[in-house]
């Protein structure tokens, strides 16, 4: 506005006072325009600073917002880490061979070798304080979950297992390595279990537990002496298995396998349907054809075990115990809504439908891929299961979660000068003699 006026009069030669006056007015206008320009400049700086954080004059930055370039840098690195060398890699191509896959060279005298070893290594007995040594094995993929929240629940699941196992003197092996390219995915537990069995003769039982299974009864002790005559304990139902041949007759998300030759042989018989590629695909078709309600997909370890036990019943079933008197595996749907009910009418230590031992989030796939349920129901339920279990631990210390959906805790018992007079958790657990 004012600028135009200046330019239009720029050409005039200042010769008279009138022009001097005009010049003064122009000067005045120029001043005004200058003020305006400065003001606009300030506005621009402030707006830019407010939006994209650029400071032309360095202000002491107390802003709590993350500088955009740093956030972007972080995102780039995170994406790199996530995608970097994808594990179930295609780069090592699985060649189609005619040879039958094996977990390893056949071991035939495991029982006697193991007994000999135990005799020679009394510092590593297979029974401690009268109880058999149990090794709990679990694990997850080596790389970050595609869903970041998945890693958070893996962490909580691990804490949950650490807590239970500490209270029950069970050691944990957390596996994050793909030991066998061919037996990948859910099959990865087979080579792992075999490896741990033969490396740790002092382990009497190997307890495989999925990473999406949570302990929800912290006081329940597995009735291990009940399983003296058996080598495998898996949650399942005989009628579903033998009469219906249902593909969910049992669950391999939480089972026990005794360290015996029998178990090595079972693993060898179980493995052939597992190798990635054509073998697994073909096996999947056989399983879908033979098992009730099984959808069409590649062979999974659970269906394969069912098929094995059903088709070779006489060979294996005498040493397999189908446990359903407590929730060695507890399908989460139907259990998670009842936590308040359990709290109201029951108490921990029962492990069954009154207070489930394990709540297993089958089908949730929080780490990656898409599950069979909405994420909201899965994650909410997992948080509830975790807190339900955590409360049983916190109770010892006089704390409790502020609700089953709350990460926060509150004190429910004041501190005392004689902390040992309160009976501790020890008295609740079956005492180790």
């Amino acid at each position: 506005m004012g600028l135009k006026r200046i330019s239009s009069t720029a050409g005039a030669l200042p010769t008279t006072t009138a022009t001097a006056v005009r010049r003064r007015r122009h000067g005045g206008q120029k001043c005004g325009n200058l003020k305006l320009t400065i003001l606009c400049g300030i506005i621009t700086i402030l707006v830019l600073r407010g939006t994209i954080g650029i400071s032309l004059i360095s202000f002491p930055s107390e802003s709590t917002t993350i500088p955009r370039h740093v956030a972007e840098e972080t995102d780039r690195i995170v994406a790199e880490i996530r995608s970097g060398e994808n594990d179930d890699s295609e780069s090592e191509s699985v060649t189609l061979t005619n040879r039958t896959y094996t977990l390893g060279p056949k071991i035939i005298d495991w029982d006697s070798s193991r007994q000999k070893w135990l005799r020679q290594n009394r510092g590593f007995p297979n029974y401690v304080n009268g109880k058999p040594r149990i090794l709990l094995v679990t694990g997850s993929q080596p790389g970050p979950c595609n869903n970041p929240i998945g890693d958070h629940y893996l962490l909580k699941s691990t804490k949950n297992k650490i807590d239970y196992c500490r209270m029950h003197n069970i050691e944990i092996v957390y596996n994050m390595a793909n030991l066998d390219e061919e037996l990948s995915g859910y099959w990865t537990k087979l080579p792992l279990i075999r490896k741990l069995m033969v490396s740790h003769p002092e382990a009497e039982w190997i307890w495989w537990m999925d990473s999406d299974a949570f302990f929800t009864d912290m006081l329940f002790e597995i009735p291990i002496s009940k399983y003296e005559p058996y080598n495998m304990v898996v949650h399942g139902y005989p009628n579903l298995l033998f009469e219906e041949k249902s593909w969910i007759a049992l669950n391999t998300g939480s089972f026990l396998l005794r360290n015996r030759q029998w178990s090595l042989d079972l693993l060898d018989s179980w493995a052939p349907m597992g190798p990635k590629g054509a073998v697994r695909e073909e096996a999947g078709k056989i399983l879908t054809a033979n098992l009730k309600d099984r959808p069409s997909f590649e062979a999974d370890d659970q269906s394969a075990l069912i098929y094995l036990l059903v088709s070779r019943k006489d060979e294996w079933m005498d040493k397999v115990f189908l446990e359903n008197s407590y929730y060695l595996h507890g399908y989460w749907v139907g259990l998670v809504d009842k936590y308040e009910e359990y709290l109201e009418s029951s108490h921990p230590g029962l492990g069954d439908e009154r207070w489930p031992f394990v709540t297993h989030f089958v089908g949730c796939k929080t780490c990656g891929g898409y599950g069979d349920y909405t994420m909201e129901s899965c994650l909410k339920s997992m948080e509830r299961a975790f807190n339900f279990a955590d409360n049983q631990l916190l109770d010892i210390y006089g704390f409790r979660h502020k609700g089953l959906l709350s990460p926060g805790v509150k004190r429910i018992r004041s501190e005392t000068t004689r902390p040992l007079e309160r009976s501790l958790i020890r008295s609740n657990i079956v005492d180790v003699v």
Partner: protein
């Protein structure tokens, strides 16, 4: 033109008014914009949102396919299966924000709160803990405080926030870190306590360990030593057994140097990211002496100023537990010094900055078991803050080095089973020992499958 309508004087006045008006208008616009930038304007959004929208529009085409995005596209193609059609819809976890669902609820159980009018204390003063504990141990012979003659019962305590990390890979690194601790502790017969509960809101942040430690010591009299370890510290020497005998006359073992504490009062003269505390009266008293600088907010701020003044090299920030410990030891040496062992012969805490680039050299020239500069026991990623979005060091260096440290330690575990990582930077493993039909004749190189320090007391048997 105006002059013709209003007359020259009025025209000039009018122009002046208009000019001032422009100024006023500009100032008004300025105010509105600045306010919007700072406070937001409800559904009119904030400037940042505008920028995001603009960016979204222009960049979605060229944005590289993140796994998350691919997941979303894949899931929209899949038929929705069972489930309640919530607003968040979909079976994709990518966009679901769990923090919206987490909430406190009243459950009728009374909460005990500390009386705020009283000065802060971790709990009521206990003066006879040694006696109480020794009585309990006598009455409970099944829970001895020593698991062999020389080896005390140790509880390793660590933890992290119960909420998901801000950094999307933060939880993954916490998971790796706990796996690493599980491995070391399994080999060395140490129990682990992973804490995710904030026991005392006043002692949040780095001070949260104090009420936790006290609570655990008093609840588990069978523990002889409590080993606090930060979540950003990893074991890198799986074979190294802590020399427990060395500390038989001490109650607190921290990595540090005497001169740096007692002579220099240097704020990094010791490190409280990994330390051992004996379960005894002395330790309870030490915790009581340590705690007063911790309570938020005012006390912590004031204490921070004192510590910055008194300690060498300390920047200005609120009081932290490490500086407070330096201060206590430096000013009350006669009272506490004789029972504190400042260990520097091995890396009970090893600052990552000087260690991580040397892993390859260490592999070439040394072997696990030293615990010191040749093969550090602990590599501690001070300042990295993998759970938050950024710490004191570049994100890339931190996360990549954490991977290397993890693999460096993990290789020692994998070698027991005949495997190793393909490289220190790789998640993948390769076989280095073939399967055999006589597995018990194989010994792992480091002897970690059945190490002497893990063997139980052998009963003289028939």
């Amino acid at each position: 033109m105006l002059e013709r309508v209003l007359g020259p004087r009025y025209a000039r006045q009018f122009q002046r008014i208009v000019r001032k008006g422009k100024l006023t208008l500009l100032c008004l616009v300025l105010t509105v914009v600045v306010l919007r930038g700072n406070l937001g304007a409800g559904k009119f959004g904030t400037p940042e949102k505008d920028l995001d929208e603009i960016r979204e529009t222009f960049s979605y085409i060229r944005r590289r396919a993140e796994p998350r995005r691919v997941l979303e596209e894949a899931t929209t193609a899949v038929e929705q299966k069972s489930g309640g059609g919530t607003d968040n819809g979909g079976n994709s976890y990518a966009e679901f924000d769990i923090t919206k669902v987490l909430k406190d609820e009243e459950d009728g159980v009374e909460e005990f709160k500390r009386d705020p009018s009283q000065p802060y204390a971790l709990g009521p003063k206990i003066s006879d803990w040694d006696q109480q504990r020794s009585e309990w141990l006598t009455n409970n012979p099944n829970y001895p405080n020593f698991i062999t003659d020389k080896k005390p019962r140790v509880l390793l305590v660590t933890g992290s926030s119960p909420k998901p990390c801000e950094n999307p890979v933060g939880d993954h690194y916490l998971l790796k870190s706990i796996k690493n601790k599980i491995d070391y502790c399994r080999l060395h017969s140490i129990d682990i306590f992973y804490n995710m509960a904030l026991l005392d809101a006043e002692m949040a942040g780095f001070w949260a360990k104090l009420p936790l430690i006290r609570k655990l010591l008093l609840s588990h009299p069978e523990i002889e030593f409590l080993w606090w370890m930060d979540s950003d510290a990893m074991f890198t020497d799986m074979a190294f057994e802590v020399p427990w005998e060395r500390y038989k006359d001490h109650n607190l073992v921290m990595h540090g140097w005497n001169e740096m504490i007692y002579d220099e009062k240097n704020w990094i003269g010791l490190n409280t990211g990994s330390f051992l505390l004996r379960n005894c009266q002395w330790s309870l008293d030490m915790l009581d002496t340590w705690a007063p600088m911790g309570p938020k907010v005012k006390i912590r701020e004031e204490a921070g100023k004192l510590l910055t003044r008194e300690l060498k090299g300390r920047p200005t920030f609120e009081a932290d537990d490490q500086s407070a410990m330096v201060y206590i030891l430096a000013t009350q040496k006669e009272k506490w010094g004789d029972k504190v062992y400042l260990e520097n012969h091995y890396y009970l805490h090893g600052y990552w900055g000087i260690l991580v680039d040397k892993y390859e050299d260490m592999i070439e020239s040394y072997h696990p078991g030293f615990g010191d500069h040749r093969w550090p026991l602990v590599t501690h990623f001070v300042g990295c803050k993998p759970c938050g979005k950024f710490g004191d060091y570049p994100v890339e260096r931190c996360l990549k080095q954490m991977d290397r440290a993890f693999n460096f330690g993990d290789n020692q575990i994998l070698q027991m089973y005949g495997f190793t990582h393909k490289s220190l930077g790789s998640r993948r493993v390769k076989r280095v020992r073939n399967e055999t039909s006589n597995p018990l004749e194989v010994r792992d190189e480091l002897g970690l499958l059945h190490p002497a320090f893990k063997a139980v007391k052998v009963e003289p048997s028939s």
